[in-house]
Symmetry: C2
Subunit: 398 residues, 2 copies
């Protein structure tokens, strides 16, 4: 062995610093209008209520709230989450089906850890969430992205992908207001997915961070609710409906699998912050989270409207974009010859940023796309930033 | 594929619910005097100061403290930790060498993830920390426990283990007040380990949760300090010097490796709670952590003294125990024919609990041992519990 040179595990060759992330480091400058991140609007975080809640928790149960606690998570918090999932989605889960995680990113990592051996296959939407790709990559799977239209994965394409890939270990989807595309699966497609997955004995990892942020239309049942819970690992989070900086989320899994996830969590970080869990559980007891979510929805709806309005007015012909019914993102598709990465570089010269869409395709391609976030910037900055964006796009299209 | 039966990754067969943990579930009952856990004394947590700190953080920077933040961790907190490591241990680290983790357990998991392929070898002390075994097991290594005496690993045994196991990926040690044995490495053994590891190009994972909890004698330099930082991954934590329920710790690694750990953390949970990091950084700015540690040391020293005193008085001949100079644990060795698990069952009948020592040997054996925690119980309960423990031991020895 060569002294001084530390030999890494094989999996590390798959974890690479993203070019785009490096590029977007510049978006920290205050003059930049950034549609690149996925940040909630910080001005809506209930900081004052949380300060009061924290005071109460530390005063009445400080010793307990600052001590080690169970890996599964705070029992009161798990009961509240189960109740919420059942009320909002028509799920039928119990507190004991849940594991509290340190953000949904941890749920993604755990899904990979529990299910993936090297060379196994993950089926994803096309495009899919970059953070999920990164989490799963540590377990060295192969990704097969299934053809997807505005209503979700196309069932024939899904059936074919399952047929052709006997090593599929799970299907990863975000049915509501997907990151990055903003699209929402239709009920028929949800049912088709659940049926097909069950028939083939392949579990679904359902990621639901945005489901409650619906601006219009009727909520659709989660896959977890349609499946009745035996074949779906559901990931939920407080990041988008409350605040992400606490890092508190959960997974709901078939009971036997939930026990395996508890073992994984024990090895990974023992448990999620006791204080954070008690803060959220106490907030849920004493305050109205739904009212907070309502406020968030109102603000994001206005921001989406403004972004859509300026895009519709200023984008040249040949450029398409989605009009999501909720969530944080919309998706732009340019003509084939336009490269999103090149476009970003030009946009940065005009102090506006977005994420080129190619990053969201695990097997590459589709460089003529872009993800725009509308939750974080004020209406004025959206107006100004989207104008600049559209000007650069018009120039690029000649 | 059989419908409804989810196929797990191979690594999952190595993650098993521990028998002992199941047995110790009963120790939650208030009448039980438990020396089994590794819990700090909750009455010493600075809950009131933390409530005030939280109020300040949420009032002056609530939006930022509840928002997503960088994977590396809060810059102010990283600077404070680097300063503290350099002052207390003679290390020479900078903020950029550090990654904030969600507890040291996460640092252990990341060490396994970064370095271990299936079949690789981890060298450990004998015995070693159970939580480390559990974290590494997910990466399917082989453990080789190196013969260890009261001063640390025996250099000849270490050299031999390195010679005989070309697939050694790292050496895992807790040099101060080890969990479970309570022993502290001598300076000569530290230097020998650092030199040998460097010569063989094998990194060291140094776990230092208890180092600041020294009741007497002079502090010894960390391996990180002796090595000057190129070959040691150091794990530090606020769990034992502040409070564990926040789940905030750090790792300090050679710069190139630190960047790899950042990528791992990005996939694993994005970042540790922003609020928790701001709480601790602000506490460190406005309060005297050393004063708090001094208080903890005073209390734990008394508790160790009482435990040692009762053990010395009441244990029968043929039973040995360590008298640690700090930390949370001491270690009991019975005559060969005594089984720690059987002893625990009898102790539970008398409402007293400990952890049988066999669990701390990754390759089994050594069932005639026990770990006793002295940090969590009051002096009275230590007195009463150790008496009961000794009575059961006397009966077992006939």
């Amino acid at each position: 062995m060569e002294p001084g040179k530390i030999k890494l595990a094989k999996r590390m060759q798959f974890l690479k610093a993203s070019e785009i992330r490096e590029l977007l480091k510049f978006t920290q400058k205050p003059e930049i209008i950034s549609f690149a991140g996925g940040l909630p609007a910080a001005e809506l975080f209930p900081a004052a209520e949380l300060a009061e809640v924290t005071r109460q928790v530390l005063q009445t149960e400080g010793g307990r709230a600052l001590q080690y606690s169970t890996t599964e998570g705070d029992p009161a918090l798990r009961r509240q989450i189960a109740g919420r999932m059942n009320a909002k989605q028509g799920a039928r889960v119990e507190a004991d089906d849940l594991l509290i995680t340190s953000g949904s990113q941890q749920g993604l990592d755990f899904a990979g850890k529990a299910l993936l051996d090297e060379g196994d296959v993950v089926l994803t939407e096309s495009p899919t969430y970059l953070g999920a790709i990164n989490a799963f990559l540590a377990y060295q799977p192969r990704f097969v992205d299934v053809a997807t239209d505005d209503e979700g994965m196309i069932p024939e394409a899904l059936a074919q992908a399952l047929e052709q890939n006997p090593r599929v270990k799970f299907i990863y989807v975000i049915p509501d207001f997907q990151n990055p595309s903003g699209r929402t699966w239709s009920l028929a497609r949800r049912q088709a997915l659940v049926d097909l997955a069950r028939l083939r004995g392949v579990p679904i990892v359902e990621d639901g961070p945005y489901s409650e942020l619906r601006f219009e239309g009727e909520p659709l049942p989660s896959l977890k609710a349609l499946d009745r819970g035996d074949n779906v690992i559901y990931l939920g989070t407080f990041s988008k409906i409350f605040c992400p900086g606490l890092r508190c989320a959960w997974l709901a899994a078939p009971r036997e699998l939930q026990r395996k996830f508890v073992l994984i969590k024990q090895g990974a970080d023992l448990h999620t912050s006791t204080l954070v869990q008690r803060q959220i559980a106490t907030y849920l007891e004493r305050h109205d989270l739904d009212a907070n979510v309502g406020k968030v929805i109102g603000v994001y709806r206005e921001r989406r409207d403004r972004m859509v309005e300026v895009l519709a007015r200023e984008l040249p012909a040949g450029v398409r974009f989605t009009r999501p019914q909720g969530g944080l993102f919309l998706w732009v598709t340019f003509p084939e010859h336009v490269n999103g990465r090149a476009l970003l570089e030009r946009c940065l010269e005009h102090d506006v940023a977005f994420v080129p869409g190619g990053a969201f395709f695990p097997n590459g391609g589709h460089e003529n796309t872009a993800r725009l976030n509308f939750s974080f910037m004020s209406l004025d900055r959206i107006e100004e930033g989207v104008r600049r964006f559209c000007r650069v796009v018009r120039q690029a299209l000649g």
